[in-house]
């Protein structure tokens, strides 16, 4: 998966691109946790517009990131999921802990 990021106004914006399944969840987890270590972050927005596929492995990975950020007191928001990904995320109830924006 491709990961790009920028920090603006104390917000870490991370966009991920590709298909999110078991084959890429572990390296993605490591990469995101590295980015979360940056100083001065007040919130994280994960842009999912480039994610064309996700299964429940992705849900587990996202909940893991939520826990990492929660321990730091940083909220996580999900942005712009494609329809197919949005259906899975809605089913999981994940938006109750990491709201959808955009």
């Amino acid at each position: 998966m491709k990961v790009a990021h920028k920090i603006a106004n104390n917000t870490l914006y991370v966009s991920i691109c590709g298909e999110l399944d078991e084959s890429c969840a572990a390296p993605l987890r490591v990469r995101l946790d590295e980015l979360f270590d940056a100083a001065g972050i007040a919130r994280v927005v994960l842009d999912l517009a480039g994610v064309s596929f996700m299964d429940s492995t992705g849900i587990g990975m996202l909940i893991g990131r939520y826990k990492v950020l929660k321990a730091k007191g940083i909220p996580l928001l999900l942005s712009s999921p494609q329809t197919v990904v949005d259906k899975l995320l809605s089913l999981s109830g994940i938006y109750e802990i990491m709201p959808k924006i955009g």
């Binding site: 399944d21 084959s23 969840a25 596929f53 299964d55 849900i59 587990g60 893991g64 329809t83 197919v84």
Partner: protein, 146 residues
Amino acid sequence: MDNYMRLKIKAISSNEAFARSAVAAFCVDANPTVDKLADVKTAVSEAVTNSIVHGYNGSGEGEVEIYVERSGNTVHIEVKDCGVGIENIEKARTPFFTTKPDEERSGMGFTVMESFMDSLSVEPNVPRGVVVKMSKNLDGAEKTTE
């Protein structure tokens, strides 16, 4: 039955994308809507992931067999492994239940399969492992003929 395919893959996660894409390509003859085809891809990915991660414990050993049969606009899919099996299938199907809580597993696999497909059964494979059977009517005619 109009057509069928059988696919056997090494139980490694890098084969998941190939497996779900191959099944989706086979299902095109059932005249699916884009949404229903996406549902099938997700459900197949869940079943194959279960076999790799739980059945074979991520060892990279073993095989996963995927059989798909099409009758008209309906597809019947079987995903079978010869792994360790599931001790308590009823419990395993409970939403959010996972035997690997330390690995950031959502425990949503069977819930997703059940929600995205018309039917789902999970049975022990003989002599060992698991067979997941699921079916779905993919007919998209109501959206394409008018």
